[in-house]
């Protein structure tokens, strides 16, 4: 499976999805112009991955900020991950960032995947 690797910018997050090496990570800031368009390849990739996943998957979110439109897409990403077996979300937040911690908690209530909260 091809590796999806998007370099982060001021407004878009860095994304690495690498099945072979078991790296699944979205990190940085997410305020893209057209969030639906930006996350489309990600959702497609996950769709393909879901057909033949690794035995276990640890999906890392390490976000500094995301806007409302992105939050909907992140929820879509989480919903897509929901159907994959042995999925775990690692939700990283800066230890001062209470908002991000709570956002992670709210997300964990919206989908049925185990969340693990970590600070950095």
């Amino acid at each position: 499976m091809e590796i999806l690797n998007l370099e982060g910018t001021e407004d878009t997050p860095k994304i690495i999805l690498d099945k072979k090496n078991g790296i699944f990570e979205i990190s940085g800031r997410s305020l893209p112009e057209d969030s639906a368009e930006f996350y489309r390849p990600v959702l497609e990739w996950i769709g393909n991955y879901g057909a033949d996943p690794n035995p276990t998957t640890d999906f890392v979110f390490k976000l500094e900020y995301f806007n409302t439109a992105s939050s909907k897409l992140i929820l879509d990403v989480l919903s897509a991950l929901e159907d994959i077996k042995n999925m775990k979300i690692l939700w990283y937040y800066h230890e001062d960032d209470e908002d991000m911690e709570e956002a992670g908690q709210e997300f964990s209530e919206l989908v049925e995947i185990p969340f693990e909260f970590k600070t950095y």
Binding site: L63, Y65, F66, N67, T68, A69, S70, S71, K72, L75, D99, M100, E102, A103, E106, F107, E109, L110
Partner: protein
């Protein structure tokens, strides 16, 4: 709205207004106004406190615009998800519009606020285009800048702005009135950008405020123009615009058959896409009006035109256009919900595949919420399997499935729960939006239902129309007419409720006497209301569309129709266990009872049963025929009556009556075939009748039963109740028994009807007599014993009759003439002349004429001709005659004996004459057909000698090709110069009868005849 949702909304409001500068006073006010419509004062405070806390109202603004916090973003998602689970799409659109309105109060459309709302819209699954439309509609204060086909602008301009997609209406107004359609949920919103006092439902529209434009709403401009909900819908709706339909009813007067006037001066004129209600006090003529408009009853003066075609005169042009749902159930009770619809659909859509029909049926079932009940049997009201509401909905479904262009419904909501009623009316509304014209008689509608109608026709006692126009207007009209306060408000300010009861309270208001008790006198009579109505309302006549209305039907050909009818009817019969059981058991049981009882052992000396000596066999034949007749009649007598309701509904489809009847006949004939076969099998088995008689018996009984089937259908189509029909059955059966020829001998009937030597004419109308003769003759001639000897016995019998009886009679007559030759007594001479003529005729018809070669037999003999020498010639002829026939007799006997000897003594023969006779021959039947019991073997009747004995051996003389008449038990018959066996001929007669009855059934002659009587009015006592 549930607490949970309200909390969610409060949070949404808070999160949105918190962004970019925080809550403004106006925005907070908007939230308060919203809470006011949903909450009482106490809870309002509580929710407002929550809102203030969450939105940070009153806290010092931090000045700098912050990014939306990620926590709040995710919370918004959470809230929307929650809302998604409980609210309908329509409600979600309402929520979205509330959010946009909130933001619009201070026009603080910052990017972050709009982003949140946009995200909400995405989570609500509202399409982006639609969201953009809604956003533009709410945000803009310049309606003319809008450009969308789902926008309608009403202003003073003569024409729409060029180059824009917007729709346009010309009204007298300053500023612009904008209407938006949210297509996915079929909701309409309006707002007014201008400074006049424009009223919506009687309340002033605030400039630039968005209003939900609900069913039945009206907008009135200051200049007095009115925009009705239905008009605006029609402007948006392409389907309505393209449907070519006009309905014009001008009913000047409608009289009931008893002379009472049912309707006066009712004019209705409508185009496509309307849902019209008909209301009125009971007895005001609502149903009558509906029936007249639907073409079920013809107005005494007036006409009904659909697209200019008179529905009574040009039926074929409008076939299938009208649909009618009566108040009664028109269901086939033995079939399931699905089957009821399925067969109906099959009859309507010949061009559909099975798959398409299935889909169509399921679609309608789902629309009416019956899909879960589809495999339940409908059942009758006493033996319920589906509820009353479901029955009602199924009735409607049966008409809806073919989507007729004009639909009439008589109280479709009566007996339904308010939820069900609303569903039904919603469905009708939806249909009307597809371009159908729908008339509904409605009783006590709820406010919501009432407002859904495009127009309301209000009838007053005596068939006077009191109002015809937009429903909510009706309330204001009646209020105004009676000078009531607040008369220009048709509905409640806050809840928008209309109270249709008010109308009837006003119409039927009674004069109060000096004690304050209402009297029976009305304040305003129906005539006065009618006059006012005529003064104030002008009918906007819809132009007749001059083209055939849209047909939704595609009828299958007649054969296919018949096949569908047969399948449907068979299924319904098969599912009726009782019916099936009784009909299948009836024949074998009757056969068993009858045959068992009459199995009579009268063999001389012997103890065993011999068929030969069963005296009851002739009676058994008659009883078999009676049973066949009876079963045939009873099984068919109720058929059409039971279907009448369904036929009434299907009459709008113009299905083939012939196909229907043929389907009935196919089923009934099959049933008759089975029943008669079982009867014959069991009867013959018990009575030990030989096997070769089974087929002829079955054919004869089957024919009789079929004839009875057709006859039964005739009475079934002619009378209105099953009871009448069952009373008719003995009336038809008893004469069949009387005139069957067995119970009462044909030569011993009343002189008025009997003819000597022939079967009386009245008896020829009885199938029983034909069947009886056929069976008796056939069983005598063709049984295994008699068959080889019949020819010889016939010669023996005829020769014996001539040599021993006929010749004596002739000689006696000759002697009488001889003796009185010189007499001059007139009466004696008359007697002599008569005798002489009888002698001539008898000889003329006889084979033996030797010795009379010189005498002319063709012309009548007179007494002048009779000389003593002529007497001598005649005497000698008669002697030779006797000798000739004696010899013929002897020869025939000898020949027969020879055959018997041969048969018995053949190599390996097991033939024993007596055994055969015991087994196959029935003495009693033989006595009957040989008429041995008669006292007079010869009868003189109308100048002829008639042979009374041995009718079975006497061939009839063919006379004229049309003359079919013979004596009873004649062995063969002639018709049209063709010789036929009695069995074949008689069966042909029975089938001929069945055919004639089919013709009368097809043209419903009996029904017309019966109707003729019902039209005669009995004088009434006053």
């Amino acid at each position: 709205m549930s607490e949970e949702i309200l909390k969610a909304l409060t949070q949404l409001f808070a999160i949105i207004t918190k962004q970019d500068g925080g809550v403004s006073a106006n925005e907070r006010q908007y939230v308060i106004t919203f809470f006011q419509t949903e909450l009482d004062q106490d809870s309002l405070k509580e929710y407002l406190a929550q809102y203030d806390e969450q939105s940070g109202y009153g806290k010092a603004s931090e000045g700098v615009a912050k990014l939306t916090s990620v926590k709040e973003s995710v919370r918004v998602l959470g809230i929307c998800k929650k809302i998604n689970k409980t609210l309908t799409q329509k409600q979600k659109v309402v929520v979205l519009i509330k959010l946009l309105e909130l933001v619009a109060t201070d026009k603080n459309f910052s990017a972050q606020r709009m982003e949140i709302i946009n995200t909400v819209s995405t989570v609500f699954n509202i399409e982006l285009n639609e969201y953009k439309l809604i956003e533009d509609f709410i945000i803009t204060t310049e309606p003319r800048s809008l450009n969308n086909p789902d926008i309608l602008i009403g202003n003073n301009d003569e024409k729409a702005q060029p180059g824009r997609l917007n729709k346009h209406v010309h009204i007298h107004i300053t500023g612009d009135l904008v209407c938006m359609r949210v297509r996915s949920v079929d909701m309409y919103y309006v707002k007014y950008a201008g400074d006049e006092s424009t009223l919506m439902n009687g309340f002033i529209m605030q400039p630039n405020r968005v209003y939900l434009f609900s069913h039945g709403s009206t907008i009135k401009t200051q200049a007095g123009d009115a925009l009705y909900y239905s008009d605006i819908i029609a402007d948006f709706n392409e389907e309505i615009k393209t449907t070519k339909l006009s309905f014009n009813a001008i009913i000047e007067e409608f009289k009931f058959p008893n002379g009472a006037i049912g309707l006066r001066d009712v004019k209705v004129s409508e185009g496509p896409g309307k849902l019209i209600g008909i209301m009125g006090a009971s007895g005001a003529g609502k149903t009558t009006l509906l029936n007249v408009m639907a073409g079920l009853a013809k107005p005494s003066v007036g006409k009904i035109l659909i697209n200019g075609f008179d529905i009574f005169e040009e039926k074929e042009k409008i076939h299938g256009v009208i649909g009618y749902v009566s108040q009664d159930d028109l269901l086939i009770e033995e079939l399931t919900v699905y089957q009821n619809l399925y067969y109906n659909a099959k009859l309507c859509f010949a061009h559909f595949t099975e798959e398409q029909i299935h889909r169509r049926v399921m679609e309608v079932l789902e629309n009416l919420g019956l899909d879960q009940r589809k495999d339940l049997k409908v059942g009758n009201p006493l033996e319920k399997t589906i509820s009353g509401g479901q029955r009602k909905r199924l009735n409607i479904a049966l008409e809806l499935i073919r989507e007729p262009a004009i639909l009439f419904l008589d109280e479709p909501t009566s007996g339904l729960s308010s939820r069900d009623s609303e569903n039904v009316i919603d469905l009708l509304k939806e249909l009307s939006l597809k371009g159908k014209l729908i008339f509904v008689v409605i009783h006590q509608p709820s406010s919501d239902i009432y407002k859904m109608f495009d127009k309301m026709i209000i009838m007053d006692t005596g068939g006077y129309p009191a109002y015809y126009g937009p429903p909510v207007e009706a309330v204001t009209y009646f209020k105004k007419s009676t000078l009531q306060v607040d008369s220009n408000r048709g509905q409640c300010e806050t809840c928008g409720n209309v109270n249709p009861e008010q109308i009837f309270n006003i119409i039927e208001a009674k004069v109060v006497d000096e004690y304050g008790q209402p009297t029976s006198k009305r304040k305003i009579t129906p005539v006065q209301w009618h006059d006012w109505y005529r003064e104030r309302f002008r009918l906007n006549k819809v132009e007749d569309v001059k083209e055939e209305p849209p047909h939704s039907l595609n009828l299958p050909n007649k054969i296919k129709q018949a096949v569908i009818f047969i399948t449907r009817d068979t299924l319904s019969k098969l599912s009726n266990r009782q019916y099936l059981l009784i009909n299948m058991l009836e024949a074998p049981l009757l056969a068993l009872i009858l045959a068992f009882i009459i199995k009579y052992k009268s063999a001389p000396g012997g103890k065993e049963y011999l068929f030969r000596f069963n005296d009851n066999f002739p009676a058994f034949i008659l009883m078999s025929i009676v049973v066949a007749l009876f079963m045939g009649l009873t099984v068919s007598a109720e058929e059409i009556i039971r279907d009448r309701k369904i036929l009434k509904r299907e009459s709008f489809l113009n299905l083939s009556w012939n196909s229907y009847l043929q389907s009935k006949l196919t089923i009934l004939f099959t049933l008759s075939a089975i029943q008669t076969l079982m009867f014959v099998l069991i009867g013959h088995l018990i009575l030990e009748v030989e096997w070769r008689m089974i087929l002829p018996f079955w054919i004869a009984l089957f024919s009789v039963s079929c004839m009875a089937n057709v006859l039964g259908l005739n009475i079934s189509s002619a009378f209105n109740s099953a009871v009448t029909v069952y009373v008719m059955i003995p009336l038809l059966l008893i004469p069949q028994m009387i005139l069957s020829g067995l119970l009462f001998r044909f030569d011993k009937l009343n002189d008025l009807i009997s003819t000597k030597g022939k079967v009386p004419l009245v008896a020829d109308f009885m199938a029983s007599r034909w069947a009886y003769e056929a069976l008796a003759v056939h069983s005598f001639i063709n049984n295994s014993y008699e068959k080889p000897y019949y020819r010889y016995e016939k010669i023996e019998a005829q020769a014996d009759f001539r040599s021993s009886f006929l010749v004596d009679e002739l000689e006696r007559k000759r002697k009488f003439i001889d003796d009185n030759l010189d007499s001059s007594d007139d009466s004696v001479r008359k007697e002599m002349a008569k005798g002489l003529e009888i002698i001539r005729k008898t000889i003329k018809d006889d084979y033996f004429k030797r010795g009379l070669e010189q005498v002319n037999l063709e012309t009548p003999w007179t007494l002048e001709l009779y000389t003593p020498s002529f007497g001598k010639v005649l005497e000698e002829y008669l002697i030779a005659y006797r000798r000739f026939y004696q010899e013929a007799y002897n020869k025939a006997v000898a020949y027969r004996e020879q055959i018997i000897y041969k048969k018995e003594n053949e190599e390996g023969s097991t033939y024993k004459l007596n055994e055969y006779k015991n087994k196959y021959y029935n003495e009693s039947l033989a006595d009957l057909v040989k008429n041995v019991s008669t006292k007079n073997r010869i009868l003189e009747y109308k100048g002829q000698l008639i042979q009374q004995i041995n009718p079975i051996f006497l061939d009839p003389k063919p006379s004229g090709i049309w003359n079919y008449r013979t004596h009873f038990f004649a062995p063969k018959k002639y018709f049209l110069g063709i010789e036929l066996s009695t069995f074949a001929f008689n069966l042909l007669v029975i089938w001929g009868m069945a055919f004639v009855f089919y013709i009368t059934l097809y043209f419903e002659l009996l029904r017309q005849f019966v109707d003729l009587f019902s039209k005669v009015n009995l004088p009434k006592r006053k």
